[in-house]
Symmetry: C2
Subunit: 269 residues, 2 copies
Amino acid sequence: MQQPIAIFDSGVGGLTVAKEVMRQLPREKIIYFGDTARAPYGPRSLEEVKEFTEQIVNYLMTFQPKMIVIACNTATAAALEHISAQVSIPVIGVIHPGSRAAISATKTGFIGVIGTLGTINSGAYSAALKQLSPFVQVYSQACPDFVPLVERGVFLDQEAYEVAQQVLAPVRSYPIDCLILGCTHYPFLTEAIQAAVGPDVKLINSAEETAREISTILYNKGKLALTEDLPVHEFFCSGTAEIFQQIARQWLGEQIKLTPVLWQVSRMM
Amino acid sequence: MQQPIAIFDSGVGGLTVAKEVMRQLPREKIIYFGDTARAPYGPRSLEEVKEFTEQIVNYLMTFQPKMIVIACNTATAAALEHISAQVSIPVIGVIHPGSRAAISATKTGFIGVIGTLGTINSGAYSAALKQLSPFVQVYSQACPDFVPLVERGVFLDQEAYEVAQQVLAPVRSYPIDCLILGCTHYPFLTEAIQAAVGPDVKLINSAEETAREISTILYNKGKLALTEDLPVHEFFCSGTAEIFQQIARQWLGEQIKLTPVLWQVSRMM
């Protein structure tokens, strides 16, 4: 039996990572969990997000995955190190892949980051970037209005463009040459964000970069799927299925097999 | 004491990887070895290249590195698996990073690869790409004229542009949207190659991608250098120092500490 890659997020944001894994690693089977009943995570305390993350990882471990992907920047900031120490399989967050891609992409060393309140206030991107290079300068801004837009399925509408213009006005004055989309929901808003910051700023899609690092790590561990048959992915969510189903179909371009799970809130691990 | 990253190549090609490591991971100390006395490797048999690689890795292990980087596509094709099985530290080649970057970059699935005779004939890129995705189509061409140009220091001259135009004529008819520079010498010729294939083909610089994967793997092993003091790199070569010194100064933009080593050709390991 092929071991799956387990991916989770507070809601539909991690679908951007799932889509990239499907594209870059089409042989890999995905188990996806979206905690839609409790999204968004951004405004919650890191302690609470850490607790949610523990619960979800416990649930995902029952599928015997070969890797856990915390496809949520807030949860990565809150719990990556903690979860890595708890389980024996690789645990990948989305903050370091985006940081590495930005360091590789920047010519000037001036890097922008946008994310949720939780992610930006944690200082996790700034720390990851500075750990890699003392020469970079980091400009951060929280954009709490973006995740609710995406979770409502409003990401190609005029409303998305208007919100992006307004929210990103300060970012236009930063002397940056690249901007990390430091939330897995933001690639849904790529066009609106690019229009707001202008064509000279390269957007770093942390979903795309995370999929690539999943590939790197599985390869180096000799764990890449070699199967000829293409896998059937499985999706789970803790909230109502309809909106998740609709966004997933729109984003992934196909019907998905979705199972709503009755979420048992209990401390485990 | 900070453990270095050991990088080697048949000659100066691996300097493209070293430069990217300096840029993306400025805290990391590099030990570089260029086997200039025996370059180019491209026309040699894979068996011979494997033997040279063993000798060099033995030499580099005396510096107690935390990672070995085979910054030569021909040597990666010939010996990556063999060397990985011999030493207890991570060994990174340049073929998989370039392949992963191409899979991430392509929109159409049509990927081009140029490299030395040894690399192209080994089929290593095609195998790496197909292992990742059954949906890609790979177009390969050997360019044996490029390495000698670079090793002579001729990479910004009119001659380079003319050779590239001529050698890459068949590549212009490939329906590709990205082209892997499947030899670490080729980034020296980036401008000439881009001019020859046209602006619509994205060049994948395997040096840049390899540096990024070095970062990924060291981070995931908790082995990134955290030092505040910037390191002093050390360079060694088996041939004459002058031309190496000159190319290194031109490419890295600084004076380097270079030690020619009297190469002991003997079987070890």
